[in-house]
């Protein structure tokens, strides 16, 4: 997996804005420019016969958006939605997809230098979605590759 290089723009060493969110006790980060908006979420309509990690669909700003349950996606037990649950609507190509996280409250800048490629020893993942690992003081933040998360599964479902 280490060949998954971090896409560093010309301004190496610069900082980029990220949105942080939590899933099952772990903190993840997505580049903020890939996130259209973060919403509270009440009701998700299940879609019969969709892939298991698809929670269902919601309307987001008038558009039909699929909701990926990140707990299910990352192999955790599903949890009931709470007041803190958030939907991160990400844009990938022409697609808009919602990512259901346990919570999401932080918007921070991370210096590119602080993000290291994932170690070789990290294995057993269901995809190349882990783009890097950032250490912020005591915290460990996993930087996600939106494309891998959004694109991976349609083939599996066909």
């Amino acid at each position: 997996m280490s060949e998954t290089s971090v896409a560093v723009p010309e301004t190496a060493g610069a900082a980029q804005a990220y949105i942080l969110f939590g899933v099952a006790g772990t903190t993840y980060a997505i580049r903020s420019h890939e996130v259209l908006h973060v919403e509270m979420i009440e009701h998700v309509t299940p879609v019969p016969n969709a892939p298991a990690f698809v929670e269902g669909v919601v309307f987001s700003r008038g558009q039909v958006v699929p909701v990926i349950n990140l707990r299910a996606r990352f192999g955790f037990e599903r949890a009931a939605m709470t007041q803190r649950s958030r939907l991160l609507v990400v844009q990938h190509g022409s697609r808009k997809v919602g990512l259901l996280a346990d919570e999401s409250r932080e918007f921070i800048r991370i210096n590119d230098a602080a993000i290291k490629p994932p170690q070789e020893a990290i294995g057993g993942l269901s995809g190349n979605y882990l783009e890097g690992v950032a250490t912020l003081g005591q915290r460990i933040v996993l930087v996600l590759n939106v494309r891998e998360i959004v694109e991976m599964m349609p083939t599996a479902l066909a």
Binding site: P51, V64, I68, M153, P154, L157
Partner: protein, 663 residues
């Protein structure tokens, strides 16, 4: 030649493509009109229109620096000038050259649009250039055409065109068959010049249209009598022109040119995206109004009756206004189905020639209107069926004669409106689908085929639409890759329509595509299953019935109930979608499909009928069989719209074990 090196022109490309499309439509129309008249009097209007279209194409192509298109258009324009000046005879060979040029031009524009590689235009350009230079040939057109600067120069050809007074009386029956005054006008323009149209009130209150037509195709007029036409020759030209003979009727003004201009001067071209926006807004208003209605119902008990009554009246009026508005916007989106048909004569002509067949194409109902969105998506399916009809359906002339038929096969392409649906029929009078061969081939592919020989048409359709199926051993260039009919059916059903086939051995095959008039807003039945709510478009619902659980008969993988004089296979949505729900003594069922394909969808209860705004589902994560779209009922929650046809298909393909039925 990618788009990137032309940043300046790129800003105009969308406009260019839209405009080029319009000109190409005109080009095709004129070419067809000319082809019909090869070797006789060329209709001056068509010649003129073609010339003008090439001229415009040349101009706009130059503006966007699409040099290949500019060159082709330029040389074809020159050819036409040569024809108009009488330097060049439009023989069928020369005409072929133009047709090739037009096809290449289309190709060039398409290549630019998709940033594909440019085709090589040089050989054809050379050929066209030579044609355009032709100057020494004998004057084929007897009139001193060069002296005429007006549009009508070539019309004065051999004087065979006669003037007719053609009368058309519209009737509901005719409209049902898609024959309207526009249809008639379009037809007449195909065979000659329409000089004038006068609407007249007939005794009894109806209306009729009198066309003043110049044509030499009396046979065609005679044929159209069954479509409400009557005609009589005009004894002598009523206007000026001391006619040499009564038919000569020298062109007086610029009839067709004027007519065309008049037709387009008050037309606005609108980007479809803007209409979509408008439709979306109307959709939002519909949703807001239904919220208003919910609120009204809730406050009824708390508001003085008089006040409430007034509110209710306003609400009712708002609903009517919204319906009108919706219909108005919808109507703007409607375009004549003729957009699909227009290409067909070309396809038929080419394919028939390539296949050594003789095919006559009959078009009816071109003016039948359908949503623009649907027109674009129906093009390929119709094209595919027409191709199949030529390559598989229609026999060679020898075979036809041997079978006691006319040497020319006929393909009838027709469109009609029926309520909220549009029906497109593609019928050939060919050999019909070869059932034994289809059966054999299907079995070889491992498909289940009933043994009783006579394949019922629905089963036949299932087989020819199975993916990978093709009755020809090698997929030929015409019919493509054997995935065709599967794609056709998926497309039609994906749009909320249905596909049916009828085939009679030796007599021909008819495909019938039934499509909703528009997609954006539709009436739907709202059904509850457990906690979930679904919407089923009204157009696909045959009826809603109440089902007593004791009437359901379960046996392996199936459940049936008595229905009318027979039985109806039943599908429990709760089972199919794995929705937890309690067993009930009574259910509601939605009957969808017809004949052998009919099924009953069992739901907990029906909550009524609503107008819903259809949002398409495009994301692959949630595109599942049986769900065609999504809507909301006013509370912001997504309600899935069921695709009844797909459900019954899924049902047929993977029957599930039905459990928990009270015996």
């Amino acid at each position: 030649m990618s788009g990137s090196d032309r940043p300046f022109a790129d800003g105009f490309m969308d406009d260019y493509f839209a405009e080029a499309d319009e000109h190409m439509v005109a080009v095709r129309r004129s070419l067809l009109a000319l082809e019909g008249a090869l070797g006789s009097a060329l209709p001056s209007g068509a010649l003129e229109e073609l010339f003008r279209s090439f001229h415009s194409l040349k101009g706009i192509s130059a503006m966007v620096e699409l040099r290949e298109a500019e060159l082709l258009a330029h040389h074809m324009e020159s050819c036409l000038r040569a024809v108009r000046q009488g330097r060049l005879t439009l023989t069928s060979t020369n005409f072929e050259g133009l047709v090739d040029g037009v096809r290449l031009l289309e190709h060039v524009i398409a290549a630019r649009r998709t940033s594909a590689s440019m085709p090589d235009i040089d050989p054809l350009v050379d050929k066209l250039e030579a044609l355009g230079r032709t100057g020494d040939e004998t004057l084929p057109i007897d009139a001193p055409a060069a002296n005429h600067t007006s549009a009508n120069a070539p019309a004065s050809d051999d004087g065979r065109a006669r003037r007719w007074r053609v009368n058309f009386v519209p009737s509901p029956q005719l409209v049902e068959r898609g024959v309207k005054v526009d249809t008639i006008r379009a037809r007449l323009m195909q065979i000659g010049d329409v000089r004038n149209v006068t609407p007249k009130v007939v005794p009894g209150g109806g209306i009729s249209f009198e066309f003043d037509v110049e044509t030499n195709d009396e046979a065609q007029l005679a044929q159209w009598q069954e479509d409400g036409l009557s005609y009589e020759p005009v004894a002598s030209a009523p206007v000026t022109a001391p006619a040499e003979n009564d038919a000569g009727a020298a062109p007086v003004e610029r009839p067709l040119t004027d007519l065309t201009l008049a037709g387009s001067s008050n037309v606005v071209r609108v980007d479809l995206a803007r209409l979509d926006d408008l439709m979306r807004l109307v959709g939002e208003m519909v949703v807001t109004r239904s919220r208003l209605e919910d609120t009204l119902r809730r406050i009824e008990a708390h508001v003085p009756f008089q006040e409430w009554r007034a509110l209710q009246d306003h609400n009712a009026r708002l609903e009517r206004n919204l319906r009108d508005l919706r219909e108005g916007v919808m109507r703007v989106r409607l375009v004549p189905v003729g957009e699909i048909f227009r290409r067909m004569p070309f396809v038929v002509r080419d394919l028939a020639r390539d296949n050594g067949k003789r095919v006559h194409l009959e078009l009816t109902g071109q003016s039948t209107e359908i949503d623009k969105f649907l027109v674009e998506r129906m093009m390929d399916p119709v094209l595919h069926i027409v191709r199949n009809a030529i390559s598989h359906g229609i026999e060679t002339p020898e075979q036809r004669i041997a079978a006691g038929k006319s040497a020319d096969g006929t393909i009838r392409l027709g469109a009609t409106t029926a309520g909220e649906t549009v029906i497109i029929e593609i019928a050939d009078d060919g050999r019909g689908i070869d059932v034994p061969s289809v059966t054999q081939r299907a079995r070889a592919l491992g498909l289940v085929v009933p043994d009783d020989g006579g394949l019922e048409s629905r089963a036949l359709l299932d087989i020819i639409c199975a993916s990978g199926f093709s009755t020809r051993d090698e997929a030929d260039r015409v019919s493509g890759r054997g995935v065709g009919m599967a794609v056709v059916r998926d497309t039609v059903e994906g749009l909320g329509g249905t596909l049916a086939v009828e085939s009679r051995p030796g007599r021909g095959t008819t495909f019938r595509l039934t499509l909703p008039l528009t997609l954006a807003i539709t009436d739907a039945i709202i059904a509850h299953v457990g906690e979930q709510i679904f919407a089923v478009p009204q157009t696909s619902v045959r009826e809603v019935i109440e089902v007593d659980a004791s009437l359901l008969h379960a046996f392996e993988h199936n459940e049936l109930m008595p229905y009318r004089s027979g039985t109806l296979p039943m599908v429990r949505l709760a089972e199919m979608f794995a929705i937890p729900t309690a067993t009930r003594p009574r259910y509601h069922a939605i009957v969808v499909g017809t004949g052998q394909a009919a099924i009953g969808l069992i739901v907990d209860r029906i909550a009524g009928q609503r107008e819903v705004v259809v949002k398409t589902i495009t994301d692959p994560l949630i595109r599942v069989d049986g769900v065609s779209g999504a809507t909301e009922l006013g509370d912001g929650r997504v309600v899935l719209i069921l695709d009844a046809a797909a459900l019954s298909r899924t049902r047929r393909q993977h029957a599930r074990v039905i459990t928990g039925v009270s015996a």
